[in-house]
Subunit: 69 residues, 2 copies
DNA sequence: TTAATATTACCGCTGTAGCAGTAAAAAAGC
DNA sequence: GCTTTTTTACTGCTACAGCGGTAATATTAA
């Protein structure tokens, strides 16, 4: 039930991509505060901003529900 | 590259759970507008609100990146 | 060690997501 | 058919996420 640590994953991928928070923010078209918040697991971020950051890092999202066909 | 249709998935799961948009919104603790926007694939929703809705529907999220361990 | 870079943390300000309310259009039930 | 429920769509209003700027702390490199 506990939320998985997305922030650390983002940070890890960013590091391995050789990017700073500011660079990642610029690439994703968001502010540096947003990248910082994501890595700190703040759930107050906007969905589209999170998507933009994940896309830069090539992180895919999969949704699995009881009725996933 | 195209975004997968999360809105339809949410709607489908909601239907199969026998919930109306309003009921789902109340269960998730968000407004009806938010549920409506999610099903319409508006990416402007807040991350925490999306999480709350998915949790009610038992939809899990998985992140898969190049460096996922 | 010192210097340069990166991260964390705050600050106002602004834009807008979220809200409830309303109403009209669609869908479901009778 | 008609009635009820649900969904869609719009409206002000409010709260706060996001923004850049700044500064302090932490990290890295030289």
């Amino acid at each position: 039930m506990k939320d998985f640590d997305l922030g650390s994953m983002v940070k890890d991928h960013r590091k391995k991509a050789g990017l700073t928070q500011l660079e990642l923010a610029n690439l994703a078209g968001v502010g540096k505060t947003t990248v910082f918040d994501i890595e700190k697991n703040k759930e107050t971020v906007h969905w589209n901003n999170l998507l933009a950051v994940l896309q830069v890092l090539n992180i895919k999202i999969e949704f699995k529900g009881p009725f996933t066909k």
